[in-house]
Subunit: 238 residues, 2 copies
Amino acid sequence: MLAEEAIEMAGKLYGISTGPGDPELLTLKAVRILSECGVIAAPRKPEGSSLALQIAGAAVDLSEKRMMLLDFPMTRNRAVLTENFDRIASQLCDVLQHADIAMLCLGDISLYATFPEIGKRVAAKGFEVETVSGVPSFCAAASRAGLPLVSADEPFQVLPYGCPDFAERLSLSGAKIILKCGSHMPELRVLLQKLGLLERSYAVENCGLENECLYPELPEKACGYFTVVCILPERLDV
Amino acid sequence: MLAEEAIEMAGKLYGISTGPGDPELLTLKAVRILSECGVIAAPRKPEGSSLALQIAGAAVDLSEKRMMLLDFPMTRNRAVLTENFDRIASQLCDVLQHADIAMLCLGDISLYATFPEIGKRVAAKGFEVETVSGVPSFCAAASRAGLPLVSADEPFQVLPYGCPDFAERLSLSGAKIILKCGSHMPELRVLLQKLGLLERSYAVENCGLENECLYPELPEKACGYFTVVCILPERLDV
């Protein structure tokens, strides 16, 4: 833990939502904080590119910033993940001794982001942490399709593909969003057909990015990781 | 319907999400379109004020704009609502003959907004309609509390208070958001206690507004309309 006077001098860690892809969907707050911070941290893919950085960089001039590109191993091994979170938090804390850091996060930072794992470790070391919320992918997908998700007292569910009780949850009334389903699209299509939901389903792949694709009907082929499936509620006036 | 040459001359209707309250949570796209449009439309309360306009006006200079303040009667009478939607759409179409209009909407425009009712009527008259998504209230509430809602394959539900099968849905695993529950807080508290969910619940009232209030535990009193209740998932490491 930092001593009290050290905390006053130390930098702050900001978790910044970039939204799903369109750089214009960054919030004013995200832009302000990115402009003010000297150091930008962002996850990068194994080959080195960073989608979050690409999105934010199209909205804010980051050319003069110090960059920290972070590696997150693609594994479910809890020990490996924990060790990596500890390592990244430690790297960030070293820099936070003398500078603010804005760490980028795709979509909204409260939904399925890895930032919280880093943020809680950094906070435990005595540094201040603040998050800035953003536009979730499913909101942008619905807007792109021009089809509102819910109105009045309709409930909705957000379901990562294959989550506990997946088919039972899909069978409940109301709107449904399915995430992380791109590579499973063929099986998902079969399941939704069986449940009578296929005709009310559409998909948006890479919403707001250059390779965006709207599927008014679900495709029979696998799609990319950033694919959102929306299932409209059983409204009379759809 | 408009004739083809009239469509080319005619204005466009934009549905603009303002986010939940903090003017800094407007997106760059919302700000750009608000700056470009000569006419701003916004719902107003019976006494005349407009929260959406107040939020947007704190982010963009709207002083030179033509304002259209719209009245939405607080009723569930379908005939009255339909007549009112028709009337508002007709007012907007008159203006769209010669100007673009940006119509404001609290939160995100795909979630529980009245804009779609107006938008589809205006589109049916042959005018172009485009929506800009925004930050939903529950994302901002989670960020305000510093408690991420979901991670990994955790599902989440958004439930308007008293929606069909409300108690059964609350009993499902995963995170839950309850909307439109402010005035029902005392009953909701009793229900969540009965379901064993009270200890994982918190509320944010008027998130991002001057009178914002974070309740780490649900209050026993009724709260305002803009109150979001978040119920954290049954994670081991919360």
